[in-house]
């Protein structure tokens, strides 16, 4: 099958406008007969479900948590980008477009990214109208800050809880439609199969997690808004329940998987502290606005950080990347931390950490401003620190509290210790400009698709993409498909395709329960995570990837012989839910390694040690790899590679430089 991206013709700045005016529509009377399933209620899913219901479609939405408001988007901290240029600092749609393509190391589609930049401004308007309480200036206007990989201030935020506030906005819009009877919400339901009939997506099988029952749902189109798969690494900043199951079942039903190995390792997370650890906690990128990253100049320096004098500190990001300093993109900051720690300069008990230090800006930036606001002349250091701490508390208070809660150390007094951790997956289901996968009628939105971030996502762009997809893109693009479906009557779920899909799901469940082995699901997950982190993580090479593939296959085989899943399938059984998710990770992990092995270049977050410049930067191979890898599942854990060439007509591709 040939991959068609369906990017509209014409100049880049007119593609979306033209699409909007030409897109086929469904008239209001017909909408009432068309059913849409939205799986996932994070930013992408909640915004899509609400908007489609407002338009008049009949929507059913699903999430595995006890409420749609708990989707993992709730945890996003730092902010959301939009090309508003409220700061008058030279921002524009083109600049956001350019930054995103460059940040992604020239591995994203121009057409999609330009559209994202265009609709970004409407997102902020919509959220404010819903009552999202963004941070504001004294004059009452909206406040902005900077994120990595940009030189303008275009990030809107609500303290360190931006995701929460945006999701609660989308959730309230969704609940409004539930109240109006336009959306039927299914909490504690997990999608376990996509049902296709004559090649088109026609519904899903979902497991009611409270009763254990497999339930059938018909629809004219299915939208997967099921988030990312970072938990394949076991330890990540994702919520415990985040999983690949929905996307993976879609993949097995025919949807190609795009760039599976493109993983984002976030540079500023609280380091691992023990083997019992269940997850890692992010310290938002926004902290790099005011925190400076350093390690001691001396190896194995055990002194307390406050006792290490200024000239014995190596502010390695400022040293290596003077133009962007502490605000280089994530992939670069993460590798630089690893480079220092591998070289013996790391700090803390494990020596796998670097300092993120706020003292300088607390005193010199905020302390001084506050002192002059309060007419304090020649303030001493203690006064500067006290005044600065108050400002920092207002900006990042909840993050500082969170840090203290976890580490038992006070970041107002001592620098934070941080280390990179798995955070986001740029890879995902391959979609065209309409956000449709290779299965007609099956769509993927938000982090679940592969589309806009290339090989590295810029900070504050995932929230933007999730809401762009849900509020502004899908309501329009879905019409192209549904306008051809107005004569399709609801198909009864007694149809043999539903029967077969339910049987497949049931067989899997019975199999898990019947193995009756000795090892817990968790132990397999942890072992898989270690393989992935060591061999398909921040640095990859051919030998390691080949080893990883063999190890994952062996682990998978062992899982199906020795796993122990307690309880039954007729009750609330979280261990059984987890078994299904880990089983899918055990397959996805292999595909990620295969993908990484086939991409013989380094780009963005994908760093193949064999391909680097003399000073250790990623070395792309545009001649052979200026493309998207889209994998087709052909038979049990066998895949065929398809490539989509990327065409750059508006941006000149070059070696990415932040020096």
């Amino acid at each position: 099958m040939k991959l068609e991206s369906k990017i509209p013709e014409g100049p880049i700045s007119e593609k979306w406008t033209k699409f909007k005016s030409m897109a086929p529509l469904v008239n209001p009377a017909n909408k009432r007969h068309i059913e849409i399933i939205v799986v996932g209620t994070g930013l992408a899913g909640a915004s899509a479900a609400a908007s489609l219901a407002e338009m008049g479609y009949k929507v059913s939405a699903f999430c595995f948590q006890d409420s749609p408001r708990r989707a993992h988007s709730i945890a996003a901290q730092g902010g959301i980008n939009a090309a508003k240029n409220y700061q008058n600092d030279g921002d524009s749609v083109f600049r956001l477009f350019y930054d995103t393509i460059k940040g992604g190391d020239y591995r994203a589609r121009e057409g999609n990214v330009h559209r994202l930049a265009e609709v970004s401004t409407s997102i902020i308007d919509q959220c404010v109208a819903q009552g999202v309480p963004f941070a504001r200036e004294y004059g009452g206007t909206l406040s902005n800050r900077s994120f990595g990989g940009t030189q303008v201030q275009r990030t809107f935020y609500a303290a360190g809880q931006t995701g929460q506030q945006l999701l609660l906005g989308a959730y309230s819009a969704l609940e409004r439609q539930v109240g109006l009877g336009n959306v039927k919400m299914h909490n504690r339901h997990e999608m376990v199969e996509v049902v296709t009939i004559e090649g088109k997506a026609r519904g899903i099988i979902a497991r009611n997690l409270v009763t254990g029952k497999l339930e059938r749902f018909f629809s004219h189109a299915v939208l997967l808004c099921t988030g990312g798969y970072g938990n394949v690494f076991y330890l990540s900043t994702n919520a415990m329940g985040s999983n690949v199951t929905a996307a993976w079942k879609a993949h097995k039903a025919g949807a190609y998987f795009g760039n599976p190995c493109f993983t984002q390792i976030h540079p500023t997370c609280i380091p691992v502290s023990g083997h019992y650890q269940s997850k890692l906690t992010l310290m938002s990128e926004s902290l790099r606005n005011d925190g400076r990253i350093w390690v001691p100049k001396k190896q194995n320096d055990d002194r307390h950080p406050n006792n290490i004098p200024e000239d014995e500190r190596d502010y390695y990001l400022e040293r290596r990347y003077p133009a962007f300093g502490n605000l280089v993109p994530r992939d670069i900051a993460s590798r630089a931390a690893k480079e220092r720690c591998d070289g013996g300069y790391g700090v803390g008990p494990s020596k796998m950490a670097v300092y993120l230090d706020f003292k300088y800006n607390m005193m010199q930036k905020y302390g001084r401003t506050e002192a002059s606001k309060h007419n304090i002349e020649n303030p001493d250091d203690a006064t500067l620190l006290r005044l600065g701490q108050e400002v920092v508390k207002e900006k990042y208070g909840n993050l500082f509290d969170m840090y203290k809660q976890i580490t038992d150390e006070d970041p107002y007094e001592v620098p934070m210790r941080i280390y990179p951790a798995v955070h986001y997956t740029m890879g995902g289901l391959w979609v065209d400009y309409n956000l449709m996968t290779t299965v007609p009628g099956l769509y993927a939105l938000g982090e679940a698709n592969f589309s806009d971030h290339g090989a590295n996502r810029l900070g504050a762009s995932a929230l933007m993409q999730g809401l762009a997809d849900g509020y502004f893109v899908i309501p329009l693009t879905i019409g192209s498909y549904l306008s051809g479906e107005i004569h399709t009557k609801a198909i009864p779920t007694s149809h043999e395709a539903f029967e077969a899909a339910e049987n497949r799901a049931n067989e899997r469940i019975q199999n898990f329960l019947n193995i009756k082995g000795t090892r817990s699901v968790e132990s397999y997950h942890r072992e898989l995570g270690l393989i992935m982190w060591n061999k398909c993580g921040m640095a990859r090479n051919e030998k390691g990837l080949n080893e990883a593939i063999a190890e994952i296959r062996a682990l998978r085989e062992d899982f199906y012989k020795n796993v122990r899943v307690p309880g039954t399938d007729k009750e609330f059984n979280p261990e059984l839910d987890k078994a299904g998710r880990v089983a899918d990770f055990l397959e996805l992990g292999e595909l990620m390694c295969i993908d990484a092995l086939n991409r013989n270049e380094s780009c963005g977050g994908h760093f193949r040690e064999e391909y680097q410049t003399e000073d250790g930067e990623a070395l792309r191979d545009d001649e052979n790899y200026k493309n998207v890898f889209a994998w087709e599942h052909t038979e049990n854990n066998k895949w065929e590679l398809h490539k989509e060439e990327l065409i750059y007509e508006n941006i000149k591709i070059q070696q990415r430089s932040y020096k």
Binding site: D66, R69, H72, Q164, S172, R176, Q277, P566, F572
Partner: protein, 251 residues
């Protein structure tokens, strides 16, 4: 710091909504840096290893923001420390040899699903009854067209940080949901965007709250004391004021 410690747990076990529950005793080897939920992971690994059923409990983000975790620990929703959720509690808040009693939220409007998991859909239905601004996608004006003074925006934000966990209900002897409802009503009545539906919203939400079987508020303040996000009691005063004024206006 000591590196290992042992605690005795008395955990509420209940097979399903219909079953009678009871406490079971367990002892767990843990350490001070472990989070409370990681201690439960260790317990569950142990139970699975011994061929027994693990304890069901709700959790997801494990960083205090999703509102899913929900354990009553020694009588306190979210445990002994103030202003944090269960998942943010660490074993360093306990001593070696302590006995810890762990129960689910207790309220008629939050029926137990299994062990420590409860059903909080009643909160969603309260939001669906009016906890929103009716603005369809695409209807918005430019975000900076309506200026909002910083102190008002900050106050609205503070009320909006409620994570919908239900600890307030669990803490209240009447199982009242006034703090939760007050937080949303306060947020939206402070903001210009919330004005059009200000009165109909508060009446609809209070009616739904009553219909769900939450109890009345007798001003004991237990809710705010246990709220992990520090939602202040003043939101209840605001709720009462908004409700009375809406009623006076015949809503």
């Amino acid at each position: 710091m000591k590196h290992s410690m042992k605690v005795n747990l008395q955990v509420w076990r209940q097979k399903n909504a219909q079953a009678q529950g009871n406490f079971e005793n367990y002892s767990v080897e843990t350490n001070p840096n472990m989070s409370f939920l990681e201690m439960f992971d260790v317990l569950n690994e142990q139970l699975i290893h011994d061929g027994k059923e693990p304890v069901a409990f709700d959790h997801d983000c494990r960083e205090g923001i999703c509102g899913m975790c929900s354990m009553v620990i020694n009588g306190n929703p979210h445990g002994p420390k103030q202003a944090i959720t269960t998942c943010q509690l660490h074993m360093r808040s306990f001593n070696d040899g302590d006995t810890i009693v762990v129960e689910p939220w207790r309220a008629n409007a939050f029926p137990v699903i299994k062990d420590l998991s409860v059903n909080r859909s009643s909160f969603d239905r309260i939001i669906a009854s009016g906890g929103f601004v009716s603005v369809n996608t695409g209807n918005a004006v430019d975000a900076n067209n309506i200026l909002i003074p910083k102190d008002i925006a900050d106050e609205a934000f503070e009320a909006a940080t409620c994570i919908g966990c239900g600890a307030c209900v669990s803490a209240c002897k009447n199982a009242s949901a006034m703090l939760f409802v007050g937080a949303k009503v306060t947020q939206l009545s402070l903001l210009p965007q919330g004005q059009a539906e200000r009165q109909s919203r508060v009446v609809a939400m209070v009616n739904q709250m009553d219909a769900e079987g939450f109890g009345a508020c007798t001003n004991t303040g237990a809710c705010a004391a246990e709220c992990p996000k520090g939602i202040p009691l003043s939101v209840i005063a605001t709720l009462n004021r908004e409700y009375t004024s809406a009623k006076l206006n015949g809503k």
